[in-house]
């Protein structure tokens, strides 16, 4: 899951090396996410994992995102 999610994150942040990203990586503090990046990530997740977000979710860590996806697929 985390590896597939890192592919998604790579599309949102092409300038960031995903090698060091793990479940504890914080989206805002470590990856400099802003609301546009969060939104873009949500849409890339929808495409990659085949579901639609019913509401906008503010995730804290990469692990939080992975856990949420697991509840939806």
């Amino acid at each position: 899951m985390i590896e597939k999610l890192k592919e998604v994150l790579g599309k949102v942040l092409p300038e960031v090396d995903m090698a060091n990203v793990n479940a504890d990586t914080r989206l805002i503090e470590d990856l400099c996410f802003d609301s546009l990046a969060m939104m873009m990530m949500s849409m890339e997740i929808e495409d990659a994992f085949g579901f639609r977000f019913k509401e906008f979710v503010r995730f804290e860590t990469v692990g939080d995102v992975a856990s949420y996806i697991e509840t939806r697929i």
Partner: protein, 330 residues
């Protein structure tokens, strides 16, 4: 018969209210014979206001939207959570229908950018930017990108903005090979903060755009560049300082004209207002999406609405030529 262009207008969200937006739309119908409109908002109010302004209702479609996204809403949360808002209904219609060419809105900028990204993403999704097309001393235009959508930009994002601006000026302003400059505090490649210096190297090595080097703020309106790239913080400062300086100069000239009673100076003021007043200029454009979306100034009046619709019409007419020529070449 002249080909018509149908534009969507979100009537809600402007500081001066929906009546002002609808009045501006009615005025634009008189000004532009090729214009058709799709007005989104309170359907009863729209119908009543159109009637009050003797608008040509045969050229207007109305989409009812009971809800509104305001500046107090969190943009992304509202885009997901307010499906009956005028903005979401407007964007949905624009994304689903080929007959609708573009959207104008004077409400929350954040919601408009977030919503445009949600509903009008390109096939290969990219991060959008907010640009302004500024009148240049040369008589042409300069596309300043970004003007506030992304405050902190790594070098790669500045390069991305250069590509967005270049593609936009090619497609909507008919410039075959737009000259792209990078906003900095000096012309030399060694000037600028770390991100600007690295972006300069990346742009200089990028053969897919015509990079002409750094440009300082005092040349932003000279016309030296067709596209001026900046992070959203610096770009916003250039835009707001230019607006403030224009207002200050015009105010001083008006004071002088009143003191001297010189009518020629008042004529000059009229000319300057037509070029530099934001009500005459149009609005910000969202780049990196599939159809043109213009954000009118929040404090827009009905004249601004007419100007913004005019700007959209000219852009779409240029695009028709661009599409035709591209097709002919291919």
């Amino acid at each position: 018969m002249e080909k018509t262009i149908k534009i969507v207008i979100d009537t809600k969200g402007a500081d001066k209210g929906a009546q002002m937006m609808i009045k501006g739309a009615a005025m634009a119908l008189s000004e532009y014979p090729a214009l058709e409109l799709c007005l989104v908002g309170d359907a009863e109010l729209i119908a009543a206001e159109l009637k009050a302004h003797n608008a040509d209702v045969a050229r207007v479609e109305i989409i009812d939207a009971p809800d509104e996204i305001t500046n107090y809403d969190s943009p992304a949360v509202a885009v997901f959570g307010k499906p009956e808002s005028s903005l979401v209904r407007a964007l949905t219609a624009l994304s689903e229908r080929d007959d609708l060419a573009g959207l104008i809105n004077a409400g929350s900028t954040g919601a408009l950018i977030a919503g445009s990204m949600r509903y009008l993403s390109l096939k290969d999704r990219v991060r959008p930017a907010l640009a302004a097309v500024l009148p240049a001393e040369s008589g042409g235009f300069t596309c300043l990108v970004d003007t506030g959508a992304t405050i902190d930009c790594p070098p790669a994002l500045l390069v991305h903005f250069a590509h967005l601006g270049s593609a936009f000026m090619k497609e909507y302003y008919g410039i075959e090979s737009p000259g792209v400059a990078l906003l900095s505090n000096g012309a030399e490649p060694t000037k600028g903060n770390a991100a600007v210096k690295e972006a300069h190297q990346l742009l200089a090595a990028d053969e897919s755009i015509r990079f002409i080097g750094n440009l300082e703020g005092n040349s932003a309106l000279s016309g030296a560049a067709d596209v001026l790239v900046a992070d959203g913080f610096a770009g916003n400062q250039v835009l707001k300082c230019s607006e403030g300086m224009a207002r200050r100069l015009i105010t001083d000239i008006v004071k002088y004209a009143k003191k001297t009673g010189d009518e020629n100076i008042m004529k000059l003021v009229g000319h300057l207002m037509s070029v530099y007043d934001f009500n005459s200029l149009g609005g910000g454009i969202i780049l990196g999406i599939s159809k043109p979306v213009i954000k009118a100034h929040g404090a827009a009046n009905e004249k601004t609405v007419v100007s913004v619709i005019g700007m959209m019409m000219r852009m779409l007419e240029n695009k028709q030529v661009y599409d035709r020529d591209s097709f002919a070449i291919s």
